[in-house]
């Protein structure tokens, strides 16, 4: 209502309060980079300018100081300049928004991007762990955020008090992944060079009191301070009273369950809601018993545990974290996909004509239509007909869980099979296949609209 009072646009991209907010954002960024510049100055690194600029060697810190100064100017322009949104040009260009929306609002490309990012992190780990590179990436992310904030819809979704922890989670996960790789790359290099491991070198004992307990106490106090301040600044997002007749659209699970909720799109509730979560827990518990690699205990390493790290990280990064991000930021009303700069229009429609495997086989393959028990047939006949109808699905499942382990054992996992023994190998390979089932099913859904491999709604059994 108030928006109408100002400019009749209920969804304004820029308002004067947003401009002021961005001013402070750039100012904080300036302060951060000022600190970084000082650090760089102390380190005293030199960079050679390109030949066009004279080819001189200048202190690297000079670049950072220059960049910081630029940020300060931008901040000043936001805070002191005109607060009239119409006069303001530092906004994200529409073309970029459209491009990003197109990439993100399509599940296939989003997932592919996530996987590609994951692969890139693994491959480029040695480059990425350099502090300067990390700092540049952080700067880039923060500036990207600042530009995106000039979009109304982005602000709505990111600024929702519910979603603030998820945004911070993005950075926290990034930091810890970076930290892991930094240590792992370091140790791997040490192993290569035959040096002592970092953890060995750093093996100094410390006292419980005061070193540990005092630190913990201070952490406790600071956490309390942060939580209280957070509670005061971002009020609890109180929505409408719960009602079984009127549910919010979209209805979202708590953020940490959004990955599970995403699975519901591809699997029947009993699988996505019961079997898979149980298998995830069981699988995580089983890791120590499955793991036969004695290396990598007590220290960071990548090269010595490539398979374990990649498998775990694939399960965690593209399939858990990326799904949470997807569920939070990209799923909108009616559980449709929306780009981060796209208006959440409840009237948006997506064609979702999904087809079961049996329909592929009977309708499109044999062109006979689904087999159906004759009218008035007995119970057993009906059961047999249903099994007959879904026989293709059963064959696929049987192949996937029954034959595939052996195929794998005979081919790429030969070494695993020998070292694990039959039972351990079967547990391991089935867990692995279950994990792979999710991306496989997702890809099948996106590519050929496959709904269920086995679809027996009569018994509420769909796979």
């Amino acid at each position: 209502m108030i928006l109408a009072a100002l400019n009749l646009d209920p969804h304004p991209d820029l308002t004067s309060s947003v401009i002021v907010g961005l001013g402070w954002w750039y100012f904080i960024l300036f302060l951060m980079n000022l600190g970084w510049s000082c650090r760089s100055f102390k380190a005293g690194g030199m960079t050679r300018l390109p030949d066009i600029l004279g080819g001189m060697k200048v202190p690297t810190a000079a670049f950072w100081f220059g960049y910081s100064a630029l940020l300060l100017m931008v901040s000043g322009a936001h805070l002191t300049g005109s607060s009239n949104p119409d006069d303001f040009s530092m906004i994200l260009p529409q073309q970029i928004r459209t491009l990003i929306d197109a990439l993100l609002s399509n599940p296939t490309s989003y997932f592919m991007l996530a996987v590609a990012g994951f692969v890139a992190v693994i491959l480029l780990r040695k480059f990425l762990v350099k502090p300067t590179v990390a700092w540049i990436i952080l700067n880039f992310a923060l500036i990207f955020m600042a530009f995106s904030m000039t979009d109304y819809d982005f602000r709505q979704i990111v600024g929702k008090p519910d979603n603030v922890p998820i945004v911070s989670m993005l950075f926290i996960v990034g930091f810890f992944t970076w930290l892991y790789f930094k240590r792992a790359v370091d140790n791997d290099r040490r192993i290569e060079e035959g040096r002592e491991l970092f953890e060995k070198e750093d093996n100094e004992k410390i006292l419980v009191w005061p070193d540990l307990v005092y630190t913990e106490l201070i952490c406790m106090i600071l956490c309390t301070v942060i939580l209280v301040a957070w509670g005061l600044l971002l009020q609890a997002p109180l929505e409408e009273p719960s009602s079984s007749v009127k549910t919010p659209n979209p209805s979202k699970a708590p953020w940490y369950f959004l990955g599970l909720q995403e699975m519901l799109v591809y699997f029947d509730p009993w699988l996505a809601g019961v079997v898979f979560p149980s298998m995830i827990l069981v699988g995580l518990m089983a890791i120590p018993y499955i793991d036969f690699n004695k290396k990598g205990n007590g220290y960071y390493t990548f090269n010595e545990r490539k398979f374990a790290v990649i498998t775990f990280m694939f399960g965690f990064m593209p399939m858990w974290i990326a799904m949470i991000i997807l569920g939070t930021f990209l799923r909108g009303p009616n559980w449709n996909f929306f780009g981060i700069y796209e208006f959440w229009d409840v009237h948006k429609l997506e064609a979702l004509t999904n087809v079961n495997l049996s329909e592929f086989v009977w309708d499109q393959g044999f062109k006979t239509g689904l087999p159906k028990a004759p009218a008035g047939a007995g119970g057993l006949t009906n059961v047999l007909y249903i099994l007959y109808r879904e026989s293709a699905g059963f064959v696929v499942l049987l192949f996937y869980f029954g034959v595939m382990p052996f195929v794998l054992a005979a081919t790429i996992l030969k070494k695993f099979f020998y070292r694990m023994g039959f039972i351990r190998y079967m547990v391991f390979s089935n867990l692995l296949l279950l994990m792979a089932a999710l991306p496989i099913k997702m890809i099948l859904r996106w590519s050929i609209n496959l709904k269920y491999i086995v679809a027996i709604p009569e018994w509420f059994l769909n796979v």
Binding site: M1, A4, A5, I218, V228, K246
Partner: protein, 1376 residues
């Protein structure tokens, strides 16, 4: 590396970090507490205290000003004087004081001794009790103890006497002293009294702002942030309204309301004595508290609630503790912040202000946002399901006028025809109940169309059901559908028996092994002998309903439309009703915004032709009245016009020839010539119209058009020429020409019209594709064949449920004749279009008896889930279009929003534009109000850019009503109030007794438009009068008949006129005089222009008893002549617009009546006013009169028409008048008929000279005195023979016995003009004059009562005496 004892971290640094983080923790804790205490309501409390203090200071100043100081000085002087006298007699005074002191001392000494004595006595008594009696002491000890007690008791008695003595002495001394200081003490008491209010104010002030420096500091400290949490006046405890009986639904839970609104709205319930607001609301622009206090106007949130008589106060119907706030206003009562309380701004400007002031933003998550000011009346609907009491209320006036207007508009336009508003859920009332009555009457009419009734030789069906019985039952249902339970049950049983028998017979046929074609032929033959298949479905609508709808269909019946008008006219009319009749209420179906494409244009012609053909073809014949040979000539038309005005047509209809007609209740009749189908032989006359005027019920049993008794009559001889037929005259007048449109009539008939066959087939195919493909599998494969031969593919009539029944062709093999096929297709399209647009919601159309309303139900629309509204592309539509002239609504609103609120030329424009901005804004937020606003402004606009992608039959169908934006807002107020959330039963307003009768009556007054003819509330006139002149000059003394005055005081109690406003004005002689504003209720007798001698003066008759400055002004006996300059205002009464119109008309058209002196005659010619009708008539009589009005008056030029009223409606209306006047109903006692009363009278008034004569016989003789009543009234079978022209014939007195209430008759006989100032009835009895008649010794008082008693014992007397001619006594005459 081995462990060492060294610390890992520098401990010094750790301490610093720890210290800093601890300080941070302290900081956020303080921040948290401060944030908690920073809520606005703390500030409001401080500000409100400031206001209170300033108010007190002002009041103290006011009290101390002027008079107070003088009094204070006087009293102080007197105290000083008294003190002086005292000091003069100082010695004597001192002596008295010494005496008192001494005696006081002695008394206290004696009292002390008594106290000790008593203690000793008590010890002795206890000893006697414990030792002597409990422990069984021996005789001796017991005696000793008893003696000890007696001794002590004696001492006590002795001392008591002493004390009493001393007391007497002391009191005497005290009295002496008081006598001495009496004067001074009295003055001191007066001083205390003078200062009482001041000292009370001081007490409050001290509490708010203590004088004592310590107390003040304590209070100041207690008001500091955070500490104020421990301060009693900063708690919510006493500002909470907890209403567990009025729960609120929060999701799945229901819980009591917890309204904390008074945390900020501190003055909301602060009322002074007499329910006067302590802090009256005023839109003070300034922020200055001093200015608020000075003007005694306060802004929110400090102001007191308006109308304390109605809201919040303990004596009001909505006391605060019982109701709280949010039950009426909605909003979040638990929210203690401006934003959390869910306030709603009334327009975007306010929203902007609020945003700046309070950070306001709309909160979609609270499901009950506060009603904005424009819809605040919506909240009333939760409890007031009848609505009527909110529009007309004798105690509080119109309390929710906007809501009431919306409700009336919904009634007026018949929205409930398509959108059911169901007031009940099971048996619980959940809101207003606006639904159509069950279609019993229409069904019965349609039932009689069953072809079996047309078989002339048939008496029963093959199942033995008597057709004549069915006919009788059906006709009963047509006549009184609301009381047709018995008929319907029986009919249902008969139909069901018939169906059962037919099925049995069909089974028999199957057993006969006939060939397929023979079988179907046999089946058809068989069916002809039973009731038709359509009829067999009727039992499902003939069922009883626990709460049947009450409303009749809004439009006229189209069941016989074929005899009324032509297809051409119907086509033109439906195409654009406002073209033919600009003020029509018929909505517009075509030429709307989703119909400007080629598809719609080509189908429109087909649809219009279809509707017209279907209606005319299905029309059923009626029996006409025979007007005989009619030859229309100019004289006839002229007579017709006069009759049109005088017979009451103008009470509901407008006509171009009758300018100034007051009502638009019925349609404008100017253009009937172009509409009505004339007789074949006489193009200037229509027998249909003639019959309709004479007997509307012939055409439509449920019509609201009454039977006006337009028959030749003799009672208005002076106007009506003898031997003419007024109905024929009116018909001739109406059909003489098309008055509204001189340049061309619509074509009379158009036989050459043929619809475009290709378009017709396209449209038929559009519908059939959906219907037929289910039946003929394979997507309607035989389509081409069907369009070639016209043989409908579904062969079984039973399987056809929809409109395609019109295409049914049985199983003939022969192709259909092309013309017949075209005809059939057009009928199908007609029927389909009627179904789609829901024409049957307003009109009775044959074949649609079982149709259901097409619109969404509205009973809970006020809470409709906003995600279920489909705004579609309305934003884009309004950005580019939206206004009636095609301009953009967005631009209009933008102008409003960017415009300063003070820049409007007047309030009306401002309200209109801000209202549009509000609704537009609301629509942008997908809310209900905005959606509704646009839906009513332009119902099809939601189809913007949708028609390109959706099928023709999927387009929106809502029609456009001629509503302006103000009306739309009223309707929205009503509709948004429909939330179907009734609070517990004790809160729902359920009127009983008189209240119920009043509510029902109001509804019916509106339904039958009674108030067009009859005045029910008198106008109120305000004039500036010189009170030193007549008639206000001297006190009037009641001269005669004290009984009469007593009665008058009961009927019209004297009202003290408020004389607070005065001015200096000019009188008739242009001299300056002091004038006072007085107001009175009365009627205009004549206007300035009517009397040349009295230019600029209007004359009024006063209808109430006024008390001005001690002068009693009796009603009716005086007229007031008022110069226009001295007339302040004239508030119209309620109703009687037609009477007023006719009054003027008669005065100006009737020879002789233009004379102001004859003004009363004209008044007598118009429908009577019904002011205080309840006091006058007996309720049962009124009921019968309403059902079947007899001719009562001989002076009026028209008769009370007969309305098509149900029994319960007539009953309610009869009760209404009694309820309004607060008298007994529905039964009245007539004590004058009781034997006890008559015995007493007999003994008081023995009939002299006639031994067996009794009181009543004497009275009867008096009544029959030719000099009295018989002059003007017929009574006892004696027809009046008016002797002279001056005598005006009054009503037949035979009716008095059942019609009038005894007290009213008595007052009427005492002085008729007191009741009706314009009456022709003279005052008959007067004590002051010589006795005019010898009966009852010529005592007027007794005579009056005797006449009344005779009239009320009419039947008894008629049986005894027949009619008795008065015989003159031999001696003594009375002349009058």
């Amino acid at each position: 590396m081995p462990a060492t004892d060294a610390y890992w971290r520098n401990l010094q640094k750790m301490h610093i970090v720890f210290a800093v983080s601890s300080v941070l923790l302290l900081g956020v804790t303080v921040w948290m507490m401060a944030a908690d205490h920073a809520e606005e309501w703390h500030d409001h409390i401080s500000k409100f205290e400031e206001i209170r203090l300033k108010k007190i200071a002002r009041k103290v100043n006011h009290l101390k000003g002027g008079e107070y100081n003088r009094k204070l000085e006087l009293l102080e002087d007197r105290i000083q004087a008294a003190n002086k006298i005292l000091s003069k007699n100082q010695a004597a005074w001192d002596e008295k004081k010494a005496i008192l002191k001494n005696s006081d001392f002695e008394l206290r000494q004696a009292q002390l001794t008594l106290k000790n004595q008593r203690a000793a006595r008590n010890v002795a008594r206890a000893k006697l009790g414990i030792i002597g009696i409990r422990d069984h002491a021996d005789e001796k000890t017991l005696n000793e103890l008893k003696a000890a007690f007696d001794k002590e008791q004696l001492k006590v008695d002795e001392q008591t006497r002493v004390v009493e003595e001393k007391e007497t002495i002391r009191n005497a001394a005290n009295d002496d002293l008081k006598e001495f200081t009496k004067i001074r003490d009295d003055v001191q008491a007066k001083l205390k009294k003078l200062n009482k209010t001041l000292s009370q104010l001081h007490t409050i002030k001290i509490k708010l702002k203590p004088d004592n420096i310590f107390a003040r500091w304590k209070r100041r400290i207690m008001e500091w942030d955070i500490i104020d949490g421990f301060n009693s006046h900063y708690t919510l405890k006493d500002k909470l309204d907890w209403t567990p009986d009025l729960p609120i639904q929060l999701g799945n839970a229901k819980r009591g309301r917890n309204d904390t609104c008074r945390a900020c709205h501190l003055g909301i319930a602060q009322l002074g004595a007499g329910n006067v607001p302590d802090y009256p609301l005023g839109h003070t622009t300034s922020d200055d508290v001093d200015s608020w206090v000075e003007k005694n106007r306060f802004p929110n949130p400090y102001a007191t609630h308006p109308k304390p008589d109605l809201y919040l106060s303990a004596s009001s119907p909505h006391p605060l503790p019982k109701f709280g706030c949010t039950i009426c206003h909605d909003g979040n009562g638990s929210g203690t912040k401006f934003q959390n309380a869910s306030h709603t701004p009334n327009n975007p400007h306010i929203a902007g202000d609020w945003h700046e002031q309070y950070g306001y933003a709309p909160n979609h998550f609270w499901e009950y946002p506060m009603l904005p000011k424009r819809f605040q009346e919506s909240g009333c609907v939760k409890c007031h399901h009848q609505i009527e009491e909110l529009g007309v209320n004798p105690k509080f006036g119109p309390t929710a006028p906007k809501l009431f207007e919306g409700y009336r508009l919904v009634q007026k336009y018949g929205c409930f025809g398509c959108h059911e508003i169901h007031g009940f859920e099971k048996n619980k009332s959940i809101g207003p109940d606006l639904r159509l009555e069950p279609s019993y009457a229409a069904t019965a009419q349609q039932l009689l169309q069953d072809r079996i009734f047309k078989q002339s030789d048939r008496r029963t069906t093959a199942s033995g059901i008597s057709l004549s019985e069915m006919k009788v039952l059906a006709e009963g249902m047509i006549d009184h559908p609301e009381n047709s339970s018995v008929e319907r049950k029986r009919l249902t049983a008969l139909i069901k028996t018939d169906v059962k028998e037919r099925k049995k017979a069909e089974l028999e046929l199957l057993k006969k092994n006939l060939s397929k074609s023979a079988l179907s032929q046999a089946k058809r033959d068989l069916a002809d002998n039973y009731l038709a298949h359509e009829t067999a479905r009727y039992p499902q609508i003939l069922k009883d309903s626990a709460h049947a709808g009450k409303y009749r269909k809004r439009g006229p019946s189209l069941r016989h439309v074929g005899s009324k008008t032509t297809q051409v006219w119907i086509r033109e009319w439906v195409n654009l009703p406002s073209k033919f009749r600009p003020a029509t209420r018929m909505p517009q179906f075509f030429n709307l915004s989703n119909q400007d494409d080629e598809t719609a244009k080509k189908f429109k012609e087909i649809e219009l032709a279809g509707i017209a053909q279907y209606l005319v073809e299905k029309s059923q014949p009626i029996v006409f009245d025979n007007p005989g040979q009619v030859k229309v000539d100019a004289a006839m038309v002229k007579r017709g016009k006069e009759q049109f005005v005088q017979r009451g047509c103008v009470a509901c209809h407008k006509h171009a020839e009758v300018p100034g007609a007051p009502s638009d209740f019925g349609p404008d009749l100017s253009r009937l010539k172009s509409k009505i189908k004339p007789d074949a032989k006489n193009p200037n006359f229509s027998t249909w119209l003639y019959t309709w005027i004479r007997d509307p019920h012939r055409h439509h049993k449920r019509t609201r058009m009454p039977n006006l008794y337009v028959f030749p009559q003799d009672y208005a001889e002076m106007i009506v020429g003898k031997g003419t037929d007024p109905a024929a005259d009116i018909t001739a007048f109406l059909l003489a020409k098309d008055y509204g449109n001189s340049n061309g009539q619509l074509p009379r008939d158009d036989r050459s019209f043929r619809p475009n066959g290709k378009h017709l087939d396209e449209l038929v195919d559009l519908y059939l594709t959906k219907i037929v493909k289910e039946e003929v599998r394979g997507d309607w494969r035989k389509k081409e064949k069907y369009y070639a031969d016209g043989l409908f593919p579904i062969k079984d009539k039973n399987r056809i449920k929809g409109d395609e029944i019109e295409l049914f062709t049985a199983d003939s093999k022969e192709p259909l004749d092309p013309d017949e096929f075209l005809h059939k297709k057009l009928n199908f399209i007609g029927r389909r279009t009627i179904s789609r647009y829901g024409c049957y919601a307003c009109h009775d159309i044959p074949g649609f008896e079982m149709a259901r309303p097409i619109g969404t139900t509205l009973q809970d629309w006020g809470r409709k889930d906003i995600t279920k509204l489909a705004p579609e592309h309305i934003r884009q539509y309004l950005r580019h279009h939206g206004e009636p002239d095609g301009s953009s609504t967005f631009d209009r609103v933008k102008r409003t929003v960017n415009r300063s609120i003070d820049s409007y030329e007047n309030e009306t424009v401002k309200d209109k534009e801000l209202s549009a901005a509000y609704f537009y804004d609301n629509l942008l937020h997908h809310d209900r109000a905005g959606f509704l606003w646009q839906k009513l402004r332009d119902p099809r606009s939601y189809d913007y850019k949708k028609i390109e992608t959706e099928g023709y039959d999927e387009r929106l169908k809502m029609h456009k009503f001629p509503l302006n934006e103000k009306e739309i807002e009223s309707i929205a107020t009503f509709i948004l109030g429909l939330v179907a959330e009734p609070p517990p039963a004790q809160y729902v307003y359920t009127p009983k007794g008189a209240d119920f009768a009043r509510v029902e009556g109001e509804r019916l007054l509106n339904k039958f438009n009674c108030t067009s003819c009859h005045l029910v509330e008198l106008p109120r006139i305000e004039i500036w009068a010189d009170l030193t002149k007549s008639p206000f000059k001297k006190p009037t003394k009641p001269q005669t008949l004290p009984m009469g005055y007593e009665l008058l005081n009961r009927f019209k109690p004297p009202r003290k006129v408020n004389l607070s406003r005065t001015r200096v004005g000019t009188d008739e002689d242009d001299e300056k005089v002091n004038q006072t504003l007085i107001d009175f209720r009365g009627l205009k007798v004549f206007d300035p222009d009517e009397d040349p001698a009295e230019e600029d003066n209007t004359t009024y008759s006063v209808w109430e008893q006024l008390e001005v400055n001690g002068t009693r002004l009796l009603p009716g006996t005086r007229t007031l002549r008022v110069n226009d300059l001295n007339r302040e205002s004239e508030h119209p009464g309620r109703g009687g617009e037609f009477a007023e119109f006719l009054f003027r008309y008669l005065k100006h058209t009737t020879p002789g009546l233009v004379d102001p002196a004859k003004s009363d005659l004209a008044r007598q010619g118009v429908p009577p006013n019904l002011h205080q009708e309840g006091l006058k008539v007996q309720t049962p009589w009124l009921y019968h009169f309403l059902k079947d009005p007899i001719q009562l008056r001989h002076t009026t030029v028209l008769r009370m028409p007969r309305f098509n009223m149900s029994d319960s409606e007539a009953r309610s209306l009869a009760n209404y008048f009694a309820a309004v006047d607060g008298v007994a109903f529905p039964y009245q006692e007539i004590p004058q008929r009781s034997q006890l009363y008559l015995n007493e009278k007999n003994s008081l008034f023995p009939d002299k000279g006639r031994p067996n004569g009794d009181y009543l016989s004497q009275s009867w003789r008096l009544l029959n005195n030719p000099k009295l009543c018989l002059n003007c009234h017929s009574v006892g079978g004696l027809e009046v023979k008016t002797a002279s022209k001056k005598d005006i014939r009054g009503p037949n007195l035979d009716y008095v016995v059942d019609r009038l209430r005894p007290d009213w008759v008595l007052l009427w006989l005492y002085q008729p003009k007191w009741i009706t100032p314009y009456t022709a009835m003279p005052k008959l009895f007067n004590e002051a004059l010589p006795a005019n008649l010898d009966s009852f010794d010529g005592k007027a008082q007794v005579q009056t009562k005797a006449v009344r008693d005779a009239l009320l014992n009419y039947h008894r007397l008629m049986e005894q005496h027949k009619n008795t001619r008065f015989s003159y006594p031999t001696t003594g005459t009375g002349s009058n």
